[in-house]
């Protein structure tokens, strides 16, 4: 291992958290893998919780900056006009998929992140909420502008579903093998696959039953395109 103790611990923790989960990963496993002393974790990070947060912060901050940068680029190009849904999806999910394809650390992290969205632990949930606040606000605004006739709650659910698909796409290889033999070696193919699926889902006809609360009465209310 080349880098300093602090970085070696973060790298080892990232790998082990993704492999065994947070609770099941002990500080002794981490420090052993990092060729560091047991006390090094508490020395450099204070507590195990603080270590977990730093594992996320280190890459998540950068990921969300990339997302916002991608959105900025599209919006600058559009000069005030609403973006295409495809562009917004690209900025949010495309960036994530590309990071997941990055062998040098990003891959492991993204798999870990995908599994962590549904983690029930309190401090992780509130930490993620804080870390995501800005990027979510930006993308919600962009989507609402691009799809003005989709009820906001409807869209939030779809965004949530898309996060689920992304999560599985990333942490996918292992779980997917339950279904059958698949090839997950080509990140570009995965990218293309996920984007098709996401946009198909995002722009599916609005569900019929729902009273579409605050959208103008539609001519064919039961099979109207989402956008």
């Amino acid at each position: 291992m080349e880098p300093d103790t602090r970085s070696r611990i973060l790298n080892s923790a990232e790998n082990l958290f993704m492999e065994h989960g947070f609770e099941a990963t002990t500080l002794r496993m981490i420090t052993a893998a990092a060729h560091a002393n047991l006390a090094a974790v508490n020395y450099h990070f204070g507590t195990k919780e603080a270590l977990i947060e730093e594992v996320f912060r280190r890459r998540l901050t950068w990921l969300n900056e990339q997302r916002i940068a991608a959105l900025d680029a599209f919006e600058a190009e559009a000069k005030g006009a609403p973006l295409k849904p495809r562009q917004i999806v690209e900025a949010f999910f495309g960036v994530a998929i590309r990071m997941a394809a990055d062998k040098s650390g990003g891959q492991t992290f993204m798999r870990l992140l995908g599994r962590t969205y549904t983690e029930p632990t309190d401090f992780i949930r509130s930490f993620l909420a804080e870390e995501y606040a800005e990027v979510i606000a930006r993308f919600k605004a962009a989507f609402f502008k691009a799809l003005p006739d989709v009820p906001q709650e409807e869209f939030l659910w779809r965004f949530h579903f898309m996060m689920g698909a992304l999560s599985y796409a990333i942490s996918g290889a292992d779980a997917l093998r339950i279904l059958g033999p698949v090839d997950d070696s080509d990140p570009e193919a995965l990218y293309a696959r996920l984007m098709s699926f996401l946009i198909g889902g995002l722009r599916a006809p609005l569900p019929a039953l729902l009273p579409t609360i605050h959208s103008k009465p539609a001519r064919k209310p039961r099979a109207r395109r989402a956008a």
Copy 2:
């Protein structure tokens, strides 16, 4: 608590696993919630691992039987003709959503299950694979028959994405609140929402880049409907 010790333990374990995860839930938490003695878990189930498996088996067997029964019903009705994709989605995911709406136990379990698909632990993964083998074989066959011109690997990925969306839809409430205030009290609305999204994703145009290996050459290869 009314039922016998064994059932009380299973119920308490289900709740606590879903709330804190497997590792973070201790036998003492479980037995305390179940008003049982600590040794009762080892007496009735042998080990903690065996308890976890039984928590799943108890409901998962029934869930997958329901799925197969729903598929049987549609296939009997179709008299040998391919089913509509919507029917197959309904049989697999619809049944799951309805079970997730069942307050009397099913809801908690489905949330737990959704989070567990991506669980890395070995014995859970192999246990799930075994428990799902039959139902997956049936549904793969039905889908391939219904969508003969969709490459099989392409479909497996979409099925995987759909599982991700389902997982988030079910375990959703908590994670979704990161996005904003939503109403998740109406299971029928959730059902309608998820079905629209899933079918939109399933039938989205095949991704352009991919060499569509074993499907007949299409007139418009870059934006052909999946089915």
